[in-house]
Structure formats: C-alpha cells, structure tokens
C-alpha cells in the first residue's frame, strides 16, 4: 500500500515492473500521442492496442480473464489488491476508455480551466477564446513539470514554473514577439530552431461534451462516445437534463468534494452500478434517523409510498458494454415527498412538465440510477443528483471526486434546499456515504492477506437469470437486489480492456449480448416492475 501523499506519480512511474516485450510493443504501435502536433516519442506511453493478450507481462500473474469467472460468478480477490494488475489497468484500461473529466459549466468563459485526472494522468479542461473545450495533459513538454497546479481559475496561458515554457489554453506553445513568452531565450538556447508547433501540451484527441458532461479518450482507435455509451445514454440524459425534461438544462454547484480512501477503485464503481443489496445493512443507521426529503423518520430517498416507492423500480439493467444501472428505465420514478409545502409544489409542477414533454417525445421517465458508466464514472439522476469519479491511485487507494448538479433555472429556495440535502447525504461528511467508505476500505484491507487471496468473491446473485431487454446490448434482471448481474458484466468488460484486447476486438465482443437465457422466468417488458403481479 502506498502511503505517499502524491502516490499518483508513484503508480505511474512503476517502470521497473514494466515487461520489456510490452514496452517494445507499445513503442512500435504507439498511438497515444497521435492527436497532438508533436512527434510521438514512443517512450512507453503507448496503449499497446495491437498487442494481444499473449504479450501481457507476467509478474506471477497471467491474463486477468483467468481471474474473472463470470459463468460461475466467482472473481479473484487479486484484481482488487494486486500491484501488477493495477499497473495493467492504468496502461490498458484508462487510456483507452471514455472518462468523465468535468462539467462544461465549470469553465463557462474563455480562459477558464479546471484541473482533473484521467487515470494516472493529470489533465486540464480548458475553454479557448472561440468557446471550444480542450483536454490537455498537464505536464510540460520540456521536463514534465505540471504547468498548472491550481484547481480552477482563468488564465491567458499556462507558464511552467521550472523553465517558463508557456502554453495557451488550447495547448499550443505561445508565440509572442520578443520571446516574452513561449520559450525563454529561444535564440540563445535553441538558435531559433525549436519547432514550437511540435511541442505544445499533449492534447487529448477525443473530447465530447454531452449535454455539458465532458468526456475524453486518449485512444484514436476508440469508437465515438455515442457508440461507447449505447442505449445507456437514457440514464445520462436524465442526469444532464433538467427535472422538467429540458435538454441539458443543468449546471454544477461550484465546489468538487475530493477525498482519499484506502479502497480499490472498483469497489466504488461496483457499488453504484447495481448494488442495492448493501442498502439495508450498510445504511441502516441513516434509514433509522431519516435524512431525506420527507424529513425526520422518513425513508432516506423520500419516496412516495402511493406510487410504490423507489425500490419497486429497482430492476437492474446491465449492458454488455460494461455500464449498469440500478433501476428500471420504464418505471416512473416520481419526485419525492417533501416535508416542505413549497418544495412539494415546485416539484409537482416540474414533474407535470416532464411527463407531458417526455411522453410527447415518446421518451421514458425512469432511469434515475444509481448507475455507473464504465469504468469509473458513477452517478444518480434523482435525489441527490450527483456525479462521482473514482480516480485510481494504487491498488488499495482511490481518490474520489463528487460533483452536484442542479437545474439551471431552479428558484433560489430549491437550489438551497437541494444543496443542503446533497451535503448531508453524500460525500465524506454525508451521513449515507460515510458508511460506504468504511466497508470499501476494510473489504480491501481484509482481502490483502495471503490466505484471503486464495478465496474468490461471490458474484452469484441472479446467475443465469438475465432476461432479454429492448435496449441494445443489454439485459435485465427483475430481482430488486440482483446487482451482481451488472457486476458480472462490468468485470467481464474490465478484463477485456485490462488484457489489452485491441479496440476492434473490444467492439466485436460488445456487438452482441447473448446473456439472456430463454425460459429463465420468461421475457419481461421493461415497464413491468417487481410485485406488479
């Protein structure tokens, strides 16, 4: 376990464990830098997309797919504690997946920036003077110093503190007559021969703002964001759209909660993609005291009992693409019951607008989550409405970030009520999430033992009970607590990435979903909910 305070550099720099063959393959097929104007350096940042599983380095660990037995519902503890597997995740998963880096409303004006992470790499989300968004590697091309160590702000350029190379907010080296900026002593040091256009900040080749949610991907071979997300976009839509159905009508509150936990990052993703099994035990104390919209003594989500309650809608949706959600897309998750009359009145009116608007468009009303977009962006579109990213630090350490969303045109009293509810619910000071971290941390720690590692975790909930879905490349389970349907799909996808299968193969494998078993309780229409019959 790493105990350094800046162990991200630690994990990124584990060159001593890098297999020589793997590095060679990475150099030969290096594509990670192709999106920049610079010549790829081939120094092992390659994603080895052409490398098959046979080139996966061995440090006493074979292909990770041998550790993930989804047919039996058994997954080795090694994938949660092993250094070598963690290194492979950083190498083969995070630089090839679409990752959430921030919200467009965090950088509203030209020159605004927000510091974020993509796997083991620090990045900057910026907006240039044309209003375009960029994601830049936050590391100087001269000696690697972080060119920006502020969490947020507005600037004309990033100037490296080490030797003062200066970059614009779109990553290019600033060219100012007189060499006041750009490269100091351009003539004396470089004889004016340095090709500035080749030495800009490394720019992420794929950046996609989806209704304000900004995602990025380093891999030029990766499919477009929409294909990566598939029909899971319904859940993202509910997150990014206003409660009344206005498309993209949300913004984030200023202030991102950031905290360190001594847990493997996958515990976090798994928890939100379908684990409703843990609620009764983990959150017993918060259920007992009642912190939700309904007020003291009421359920923590404030569900409306006259409409069956949220738990009735908690059918699982599991995507072959690795994404998963804890609720039924077609089940109408209504606005909660509020103790305050003005809140009730407000949400009643937006709910009416929502139902009229979305039904007219033939859209579904459910799908509030919690949910996880593979691999590490989790969110809920209901109450609280929030985004969480689990940044990997080491096999047993994660930095968790949480953003809160609110309707852009919500009245002041609604904003304030939601803000306070979000804070008392989620994050390290939140009464609900505190107990999650206790479990993730001690589960990770208790799995590190030599004997413990010999015994796999159990993922047999709803095994063989996957039902056909109307959604593309997805199955359902109508069991309210069968979250392991989603977890099994997540870990299968995780193994395909981590074993360095090339993108064409990743795409081929995800094209069809053959999990649904004919006759396993019969088909189910997605509008049906548990207990309807």
């Amino acid at each position: 376990m790493s105990t350094t305070t800046d162990s991200t550099t630690d994990t990124a720099g584990t060159a001593d464990t890098t297999d020589a063959a793997d590095t060679a393959a990475g150099s030969a097929t290096d594509t990670a830098n192709a999106g920049t104007e610079a010549t790829p350096t081939g120094t092992g940042t390659g994603t080895a997309t052409k490398a098959g599983p046979s080139t996966v380095p061995h440090s006493g660990v074979g292909p990770v797919r041998d550790l993930v037995d989804v047919a039996r519902g058994e997954i080795s503890r090694e994938i949660f504690v092993n250094e070598e597997i963690h290194r492979r995740e950083l190498e083969h998963l995070f630089p090839r997946a679409w990752l959430f880096v921030g919200h467009a409303t965090q950088v509203p004006r030209p020159g605004d920036f927000f510091s974020s992470w993509m796997g083991s790499d620090p990045v900057l989300l910026t907006r240039d003077d044309k209003g375009e968004l960029h994601v830049l590697l936050n590391s100087c091309r001269h000696r690697g110093m972080r060119v920006c160590r502020y969490d947020e702000g507005n600037t004309m350029q990033f100037t490296c503190p080490y030797h003062a190379w200066s970059y614009s907010v779109d990553g290019s080296l600033v060219h100012t007559p007189g060499d006041l900026h750009g490269v100091p002593q351009m003539k004396a040091a470089y004889d004016n021969k340095l090709k500035r256009e080749q030495w800009g900040l490394v720019r992420c080749p794929h950046v996609r703002s989806y209704k304000g949610l900004v995602f990025a991907n380093w891999d030029p071979d990766a499919p477009p964001f929409e294909e990566y997300v598939g029909d899971f976009h319904w859940w993202l839509d509910n997150l990014a759209d206003a409660f009344d159905g206005t498309e993209g009508g949300t913004e984030v509150f200023r202030g991102v909660l950031k905290w360190r936990i001594k847990s493997n990052w996958k515990f976090v993703s798994e928890n939100f993609l379908g684990d409703t099994y843990h609620g009764a035990s983990t959150h017993a104390s918060v259920e007992a005291v009642g912190i939700g919209p309904g007020g003291r003594g009421k359920r923590r989500h404030g569900e409306r009992q006259d409409q069956g309650g949220f738990s009735r809608g908690r059918m699982k949706t599991s995507f072959r693409l690795g994404h998963g959600a804890s609720d039924n897309l077609a089940y109408e998750v209504p606005y909660p019951e509020f103790a305050e009359a003005d809140m009730d009145e407000y949400f009643k009116s937006v709910w009416q607008k929502r139902t009229e608007r979305l039904r007219a468009q033939g859209r579904l009303l459910g799908g509030r989550g919690p949910a996880t977009l593979f691999p590490n962006m989790s969110f809920a579109a209901g109450f609280p409405r929030s985004i969480l990213v689990a940044h990997p630090i080491s096999p047993t350490e994660t930095e968790v970030w949480r953003w809160f969303l609110v309707d852009r045109d919500a009245p002041g009293f609604v904003r304030e009520w939601l803000r306070r509810y979000y804070m008392r619910y989620a994050g390290p000071a939140g009464m609900t999430e505190q107990d999650d971290m206790e479990n993730w941390d001690y589960a990770t720690q208790a799995s590190r033992g030599v004997v413990a590692r010999r015994y796999p975790y159990n993922y047999q909930q709803g095994l063989g009970q996957e039902l056909p879905s109307d959604l593309d490349r997805a199955v359902h389970s109508h069991h309210a607590i069968a979250g392991e349907v989603n977890a099994r799909a997540f870990y299968r996808r995780w193994a395909e990435f981590t074993d360095a299968l090339p993108w064409p193969e990743l795409t081929r494998l995800a094209a069809t979903d053959d999990r649904a078993v004919a006759g396993a309780g019969g088909g189910i229409e997605i509008g049906r909910r548990e207990g309807d019959d």
């Binding site: 200023r254 909660l257 918060v286 005291v289 930095e399 206790e438």
Partner: protein, 176 residues
C-alpha cells in the same frame, strides 16, 4: 486604574470562553453528545468550506467555497441532532467500533465581545485513531460566535477552515 480594570475583565472573559471551549472538547471526546447538543444554540449554524488551490491574487475571492456553494458541511442544529441520533443507533459503521478521538483547541483569542455575544478564534487539531492503524489529523482554524445564555455560553455560529484541499481522511464522521 480604569484601563487596568478593563484589561483584567477582558482576561477573565477570555479565560471563561476558553474554559467553555475546552469543556466542549471533553464532551465530544467522551462521546457525551446529548450534553454537547445543549451547548449549541437553537439557531446554531456550522460551516466548513472547501479549500482550493488558486492563484495568489485569487485567494481572497476563490480559495474557500461560500454560501450557496458546495462545502464539507453547511448545516443547522437539526442536522447535527440527526448526526448524533445516527451515532446512537450503534449501526453507523463509520464510527462502529467507536474511534478514539482527541480535540485539541488552542490559540484561543477573544476577537471581540459585545455581550451577550463574543467572537472567538482558535486553532484545532482533531486526532482520530480507528480500529488499529487508521490515524487521521484534521487541523485548521476556527471562528466561533458564542452567546451567553443562562449561566453559561452557547455556540451560535461556527466556521471551520480545514487545512486540506483533498481530504486525506476517508470521512468526516467525528464532529470537528
């Protein structure tokens, strides 16, 4: 003589206020939460802004999150009571088994006093040891507004500036 008298009065007041804050620390560390709630005014408000890395010239405007923005805590007594009730369930796993906690309150200074209210600044160091090797230090500045009520004081407003931008503890399940 009058000046001396004023200085002595101020010294006594500062000592009285410090004593109140030390007693409060004892109640928290001894987990006498119901008694502790009695030290909080009904209009109590507790805020812990997020701290951010910003440029020198932006510190005044942007270093701390504010009203209307996300903070670690921003709540009234009602929510604090719920937190106490949660601890009392015996199923709040973040503090079950219970942690060992010491609140060190120091640098206590009377900023101003317009009785019945007084503004007090101090530094805090909250040490928590949990289960075996899990140890956290929460350190920072605190600003309290106290109000004389009955024969004692009550906390009316507490703002706490935690000296971390990324919280290095997994949670904030102890009252700081």
């Amino acid at each position: 003589m009058a000046i001396e008298q004023k200085a002595i009065e101020r010294l006594l007041l500062e000592r009285e206020v410090a004593d109140f804050l030390y007693r409060e620390a004892d109640l928290l560390d001894e987990r006498r939460y119901e008694d502790w709630l009695g030290m909080l005014a009904e209009d109590y408000r507790y805020s812990v802004p997020l701290r951010m890395n910003v440029r020198y010239e932006d510190v005044a405007d942007r270093e701390n999150t504010r009203d209307g923005e996300v903070q670690w805590f921003d709540e009234g007594k009602e929510t604090v009571e719920l937190r106490v009730a949660q601890l009392a369930t015996g199923q709040h796993w973040a503090e079950e088994p219970v942690s060992r906690v010491s609140h060190l309150v120091t640098n206590v200074r009377l900023e101003s006093a317009e009785l019945p209210e007084a503004e007090v600044s101090c530094r805090f160091l909250v040490y928590r040891n949990r289960v075996a090797d899990e140890t956290d230090f929460l350190v920072g500045r605190r600003r309290d507004r106290l109000r004389r009520a009955g024969g004692d004081w009550q906390v009316v407003r507490r703002t706490l500036y935690l000296d971390q931008s990324v919280l290095m503890a997994k949670n904030l399940s102890v009252f700081v």
